[in-house]
């Protein structure tokens, strides 16, 4: 795969003394590569096109990753502003390489058992609790942004491109009908751009959706025959989890999942310890 960003990544690697091993992922204005450092360490090298990305968001992402030193959050090893030979500015992030793939890859192979879902949720709740401590909201938790180290089953949150720092002013205009996030995994407050209600409970909702997908391959708000856009619409209009979902979760001993995806933040768990206890019960 070659692209404009690929040549910039190669150029950045030459400067850093790294060697590109392979392509990993691409976003709207960034690409990630596997690279090897002079010491032989495998890392993820992310190149962001500053002319297309919102630099303030990139700055916040970097600041957030620097603040969070948790084993459940991808480690930022280095960051550099990089001027390429084409005269343009890029941001280059060196992050730890997570060799265990994404949750999305794993779910493509098989669904999780209730036991596995419980373990997954417990780990993810610990991760968002760390973010909460730092007054951060990820806002884009989905299977593609949950990865694993090659030697561990602990899920790791990656891609903080949409992170909201509650101690800073919001970057989203209040007149926008919808706030940032992947709609299918977004909470009603994100879908309705209710900025005043965005907090750790927003991530709790997305983690709940991930749990539901991992267990049943269905969104909690999905009724029989609904298309994904209809599910998003049902979420935005706060229809609430389907009756079938509630029943199923109760039967599986995962009633806490129902509370995690309630339409209003105030209806979800207010304290992460409470949520952990409910999941462990």
């Amino acid at each position: 795969m070659t692209s404009n960003l690929h040549s910039v990544a190669e150029e950045a690697c030459r400067t850093l003394g790294f060697k590109i091993i392979g392509f990993q992922a691409a976003g709207a204005f960034k690409e990630t590569y596997r690279a090897e450092t002079p010491e032989g360490q495998i890392v993820a090298l992310k190149v962001i096109d500053r002319s297309r990305a919102d630099f303030v968001r990139t700055e916040r992402e970097i600041a957030a990753l620097k603040r969070c030193t948790s084993t459940r959050i991808a480690r930022l090893l280095d960051y550099k502003a990089f001027r390429a030979n084409n005269g343009c500015e890029y941001d280059v992030c060196v992050e730890e390489f997570l060799g265990g793939g994404t949750l999305e890859d794993r779910l493509a192979e098989r669904l999780f058992t209730p036991f596995e879902v419980r373990s997954l949720l417990l780990e993810l709740v610990q991760a968002i609790a760390v973010l909460r401590e730092h007054r951060l909201v990820h806002r884009d938790i989905k299977p593609a942004n949950i990865m694993f180290r090659h030697d561990s089953e602990i899920p790791i949150l990656v891609d903080f491109g949409l992170v909201r720092d509650l101690s800073q002013h919001s970057l989203t205009m209040s007149w926008l009908p919808q706030g940032p996030g992947t709609p299918y995994f977004s909470s009603p407050e994100q879908l309705n751009n209710e900025k005043q209600s965005i907090d750790w409970r927003t991530d709790q909702f997305s983690v709940g959706v991930v749990g539901s997908i991992a267990l049943t391959a269905r969104h909690p708000y999905e009724a029989e025959g609904m298309t994904p856009p209809q599910v998003v619409a049902a979420t935005a209009s706060r229809k609430g989890p389907s009756g079938e979902f509630r029943k199923q979760m109760e039967m599986q001993g995962l009633a806490a999942l129902v509370k995690m995806v309630r339409p209003w933040p105030v209806q979800r768990f207010s304290v992460h310890q409470e949520l952990i206890t409910a999941l462990e019960d």
């Binding site: 209040s174 407050e189 209710e194 900025k195 005043q196 209600s197 965005i198 907090d199 409970r201 706060r238 609430g240 339409p263 209003w264 933040p265 105030v266 209806q267 207010s270 304290v271 409470e274």
Partner: protein
């Protein structure tokens, strides 16, 4: 868990009186007292009992210059030119309020909040921001910060509004909420709009279920509904005609309190009665008088005085009878049984009003006819069906 006594004109002498010992906390009013007076009040209150003493800075209408408010050290001097939306401006005031509370040695301080013309997301952010600022200012002290939220009853027409407000208010680090409900309901009149009453109950229920205990300010006989909704504490003042939180209450207080008319609160009808009404009930339905906690120490004193010296004024006794009912009932309505008990009281009150109606017995005041009972029953019934 227990009632709070909202201080008003000359209320200080009622604190800790016989029959009023059920009150657990006191909400100070800087509108009526100087800083030094409040400091002395607190010393006196603490001698009487272990009250939870809360400072409400009362900056609801910052441009109103009620009572002694402008003399308080935290009262802003630049009101006319200030930008009330500026967080820096509020930050300065919050700091002064925290210092004020520390000087007079209160147990808790309510964050300052304006009562908005119309609430929106910016207003909710203002409430949360002022609270967080206060919490930061009180970090090194043992004084508890409480988040103040002002809502207008008319703005609670939609169930979703209650959840929306509760969601935004619980987005911070708040541990408790002081809820001030403004309404246009006239003094001495009950709330009759079942939909807004229900949504107020939902707001309280949602906050409480999210682990945010509510102190409901300026409460009247609707206390029974708010307790059924799960409010941890309800607060009341002594004046029946000032019990509503209306914008004009600040002006009314200027004139000296205005609690000139005595009332008897009768639980059997959930109504305030005038002296002639008491006489009517004594004559035609004596079994409807002095029921439940209306039959308290001060209620008995009133009835004794009526029979022995009917011409003697009983205004002071009437305040005490009402406050005693409020304190006792607030205490009784703790826990999960509150809803069942209130449902029963309202059903019985409705039946009694029908009996009065059947016998052509009309109470003195034109709208004192029990018209609020059915909306209250509806609100309570609908509250039981809300999916929290």
């Amino acid at each position: 868990m227990g009632a709070y006594f909202q201080m008003g004109h000359g209320s200080e002498n009622l604190v800790g009186e016989r029959g009023l010992q059920t009150f657990e906390g006191i909400i100070l009013s800087p509108v009526n007292r100087t800083e030094l007076e409040l400091q002395n009040d607190i010393v006196n209150f603490r001698r009487k009992a272990e009250y939870d003493i809360v400072l409400d800075p009362q900056l609801y209408y910052p441009r109103s210059e009620a009572g002694r408010l402008p003399d308080q050290a935290y009262f802003p001097q630049d009101l006319d030119t200030a930008d009330l939306t500026s967080s820096r401006w509020w930050s300065d005031i919050v700091g002064k309020i925290a210092d004020y509370g520390k000087r007079i040695a209160v147990d808790a301080i309510c964050s300052p909040a304006v009562i908005p013309k119309k609430w929106n997301s910016d207003y909710l952010c203002h409430c949360v921001a002022n609270y967080e600022e206060l919490a930061e200012n009180l970090q090194s002290s043992s004084i508890r910060p409480i988040l103040t939220l002002g809502v207008h009853l008319d703005e609670l027409g939609d169930r979703n509004d209650a959840f929306r407000i509760a969601s935004a208010i619980t987005s911070g680090s708040q541990k408790a909420c002081y809820l001030v409900v403004e309404s246009n309901v006239e003094p001495r009149r009950e709330l009759t709009d079942s939909s807004s009453v229900l949504n107020l109950m939902v707001l309280i229920g949602a906050l409480e279920r999210a682990g945010c205990p509510v102190i409901l300010s300026h409460c009247s006989s609707e206390l029974v509904l708010m307790k059924a909704a799960g409010a941890t504490h309800c607060a009341t003042g002594k004046f029946f005609n000032l019990r509503r939180f209306t914008k004009s209450r600040f002006d009314e207080e200027k004139e000296g309190g205005g609690g000139a008319l005595p009332y008897w609160f009768e639980q059997s009808l959930m109504a305030f009665l005038r002296p002639a009404d008491i006489a009517r009930l004594q004559r035609d339905f004596p079994q409807f008088l002095a029921m439940g906690d209306s039959n308290n120490l001060w209620g008995q004193a009133i009835l004794t005085q009526f029979s022995s010296e009917p011409k003697i004024p009983w205004l002071g006794l009437s305040w005490r009878q009402y406050l005693a009912w409020f304190g006792l009932t607030e205490k009784k309505l703790q826990g999960k049984e509150a809803g069942t008990l209130v449902r029963k009281w309202l059903r019985e009150a409705g039946e009694r009003w029908e009996q009065l109606d059947d016998k052509d017995i009309f109470l003195d005041e034109s709208r004192n006819d029990g018209r609020w009972i059915r909306p209250w029953q509806q609100a309570l019934s609908d509250f039981g069906k809300v999916d929290f």
